[in-house]
Structures are given as C-alpha cells and as structure tokens.
Amino acid sequence: MTFAQVLTPPSVGWIAIAPEIVLGVGAALILLFDVQYKPKRTHLGLATAAIVATAFAFAIVQYDRVQTLSQATADQAADFVATAFPFDAMIVLDANAVFGRFAMLLVTGLGLAAGWRLFERLGARAAEGLALMLLSATGFMFMASSTHLMMVFLGLEVGSIALYVLAGITRERTESDEAAIKYFLLGSVASAVFIYGVALTYAGSGSMNLLEIQGVLARNIFTRPAVLLIGIALMVVGMGFKVSAAPFHSWAPDVYQGAPGGIVGYMAAAAKIGGFAALIRILFTAFPDFISTWGPLVAGIAALSMLLGSTVALVQDDIRRMLGYSGVAHAGFILTGVVAGGAGTGEVWFYLGVYTVQLVGAFGVVAAVTGAATSGAGIDAFRGLSKRAPFLAATFTVLLLGMAGLPLTSGFVAKFGVFTEAWQAGYEWLVIVAVLASVIAFFFYLRVIVAMYMEEPVDEAVAPPGISVRASLALASLITIVIGIVPGPLLSLAGEASPL
C-alpha cells in the first residue's frame, strides 16, 4: 500500500466557501500590495469595499444554491449531501450559514464605511487594519457555517485574534493597549475554556462533528453523561463570553470604551454574530435532545444578562460604555429566543441582524462625534447635538429608538419575536424579566436622546462626517425604520435559516 493510495481527496465545495476565499485572499492581496506599492489609503479602503461586495455577491449565489437545494427531489439526495456538506461535512451550505454571511458582510461593509476615518488616520498600519478586519470577518463567517467543532474553534480564533489586534491597533493611546490586553487575556482564557469543552464533548460522544454527535446521542442513552454535560457547559461559557452575556461580559464595556472608535462597532457586532451563530449551531444541531437541560441554563444566563446589562447601563456616563452594557442586555434578549430551541432560530437571526446593524450605526455616530481614533465618549459631547450636527443626532435617535424597541422600528419586531418564542416555549418568567429589562433600557437610550435634543450644546463644533460615514449611518437608520415598517421579507428570510 503506497502512501498515495491511502489518501482519498475530500469533496471540495468551492461555492460553499467562496465568500471566505474572497475575503481571505483579498486580505492577503491587500497586505502584499501594501508592501510592494504603498498605495493610497483611500484606494486600500475602496479595494476592501470591493472585496466585501464581491464576497456578498458570492453569498447571494450561495443563497440561490440553498434555495435550489431545499427543493431538491429524492433522487438528487446524494448530490444534495455532497453539495451541502463539502469537505467531508466540515462545513455546511445551508440557509443558516448564508444568513450568517449576509449579516457578517453587511456589518463589515457598514463598519468599514463608519470607521473610514480611523483607517485614514492609521497611517502605515491601514493595510494591516483592513486586512485584519477582513480576516476576522472570515473567521466569524466560518463559525456560522461550521458543522465541526474544530472548525468552529478555528473560526473563533481567527476572528478573535484579529479583534485583539484591532482593539490595540492605536497603540499610541494607553486606553487602547489596556483594552487590547484585557480582551486578549480574558479572550484567550475563554477560548481555552471553549476548546476544553470541545475536547470533553469529543471524549463524551466520540466525535467533533455536530451531526454525528446528534446521531450518537439519538442512538445511545448515556446513563452518566457528565463529561458530555461539562463539555456543553464549557462551550456555552466560551460562546457566552464572545457574545458578552453575563457573567462573562466584564471585558465588553472596557474594550468598547478603550478600543479605537472607528472599529469598535464592527468589533462588537461581528463577535455577536459569530458567537450566536456558533451557539445556535452547536445547541440546536448537536444537542436538540438536551434542550430540557441546557434550556434553563441559557434562560438563567439570559435573565442575568438583561438585568445586569440594563441596570448598569443606566449609571454610565460614557456612551460607549453604555452601549457596551446595553450590548450585554441585548445578548440576554437574543438568548431569550435561544431557549426556544430550533423553533426560535428565525427570531434569533432576525434580532441578530437588525441589532448588529443598529450597533454598528450607533458606534459610527459615536465615532463621528468624538473621534474615530479616540477612546471613550462622555455624554457631555452629545449635549445639544441636534443643533450642532442634526444629521448625526437624527440617525442616532433612530438607532437608539430601534435598540429600545419602539414600535415601528426593527427593534420592536425583533423583541416581540424572541419574547413570543420564549413564552411559547414555557419561559413566561423569562419574558417578564425581559419586559422589565426593556422598560429599564428605555431610560438610558432616552437619556441620550434628551441630551441631544433638549440640553444646551457644549461649545464644541463637530467635524462634518465624511460621505462614507454619512452613507453608512443613513443606511443603518434606514434599515432600522424600513425593517420596522416592512418586517415581512426579512422575517421570512430569517425564518428559513434553520440549521440543517
């Protein structure tokens, strides 16, 4: 037996990883071109935008493919499996994966536009910054499409390590490297915890492939599943850290405050998308039979996140910290939909999609007001903003109201969806906690709006935002309103996104 005979090539599904290839190769090209030709930063930015757009185009092609596959007939089943689970079922091409890419690429594009000024100011590091942004997006997209725990871990690390660097990329400021080291240390602990969970799951079930795990668990009844349960617990903790759910949230406010303003919206949104995509993939695909076990646990984390996030956000004087804590609360809201199991997938994706867009937009406004390369954003800077920068104030208002969940914004539809799912899954108490938290949440969002519209302006002019910032903010608030008024299409799109 020669060595060559041992190896059988895997089924390669180019289309299934096309957007990731585009982003990864694009990032490499940006680095290479930068070394060789020292292009203008604007050109680099435009190239990045083109790369993101290309990847988005491929994602649309994938969506088309998924649609076709879902209507496949029985005799096409073999073909279906090969196309849907390429690379020996390391990843999957399903609606869940495609929706994850849509959300990720949209957030990347918006984040790029909103953080444009940061990249202009990064000087010689702009290429690295842009490449890292693209690479982290690649990692988080892999998290949404992986059906193998090792792929999830690699995606997590690709995304996270890039974010650690981005948090500290403006090294000139002390806050930036403080944020980076905090994020890095806690993040790598969380990653280690996650991979330990993977190892224990492997020990407990004999596989790292989510579908195989599900099969094993369906075929066997384990009398003593402790190793497996610890594995699940540790993976939940690892993902809980990524999405900044309490009590694993403590990094989030500090990092949001310390990281450079232009990138922090993208950082927050991308980590949330990746974390939740992987979390629902793991819990819904591999452990649907354990829902009575992990359901109450997730509910507990959700309740703690909502209450802690919204009460602490109330006493913040820094808008970026406030958004950080409100992000904790929103992680809790999204987890409220997770407890419903597979039935809540569509609602979770919907919430994730609309919330991350609002998040990127809101941080975009903060960056436009207090600077794209700076840390922190005291509420004082926003007093009387409506007089100094009406456009920024108006978009911020829309985005904040969206986050607060006012009817006729996307946030209302999203909240209503996850609450209903949780209620129907029998978690009435959780919904009551969630409503209470959203009542509290109203205050701190409104406080900012009141500061912008009803308080005397501080004597400080705001530099008019550039065209890309304007465009991204307008788009984000437009999405918030339009999805709020016409949620139907997105609801049905997200509703398709159940993991195979």
Partner: protein, 102 residues
C-alpha cells in the same frame, strides 16, 4: 494490576486545566497569566489524546495539531501586546491597568 485508563488522563487534565484557570486569578504578570493559558491548552491536548486513544480514532490527535497552531498564533499576538504594554509602562503587571472601569 491497575490499568491506567483514559479516565486517569482526563482527571489529570482536569486538574491541570484548573490550575491554569486559577493561575490567571493569582498572577498579575501578564506574561505568566499567558503561560497559564498555555497550561490550559495543554490540558486540553492531553484530553484530546487520551480520549482519542480510548475511542480508537485519531481525530483527537489531529485536533492537537490545530490547538498547537492556534496557541502559536495567540503567542505571537499576545506577546506583541504584552511587549507593547511593557514598553509603555516598564511593567507587565495587569493590576496597573485599570483606567477603563465602572
């Protein structure tokens, strides 16, 4: 005759992992905290290898390679951040980093 089963290694790994986890809380030197993370990752590797042997497949051993690569990439970035911290503050103590709080 006592047989050393996978469970022995898994238990040992759990202990090592816990020591690493607690080390993060005890040490203030960022570098040593990071060593504790490496310790945790090694405990994970031991789990993978031992479980793989008991399960009779090599996936556990293959997984170790990927954990190693991840650890290497983390080391590169982590040490770069730690050096950056040190060059500014002449100290690698994380206790002195608390301007972001509340």
């Amino acid at each position: 005759m006592i047989e050393v089963t996978a469970g022995w290694y898994l238990s040992l790994a759990a202990v090592l992992f816990s020591i690493g986890l607690l080390g993060i809380l005890v040490r203030r030197n960022a570098l040593i905290m990071f060593m504790c993370v490496e310790l945790m990752l090694n405990a994970v590797n031991l789990t993978f290898v031992a479980a793989g042997r008991a399960l009779g497949n090599l996936e556990g051993q293959v997984a170790v390679f990927f954990v190693l690569v991840v650890a290497a990439a983390e080391v590169v970035v982590g040490l770069a951040i730690i050096v950056a911290i040190f060059r500014r503050r002449e100290s690698a103590s994380v206790d002195e980093l608390a301007t972001l709080r509340g």
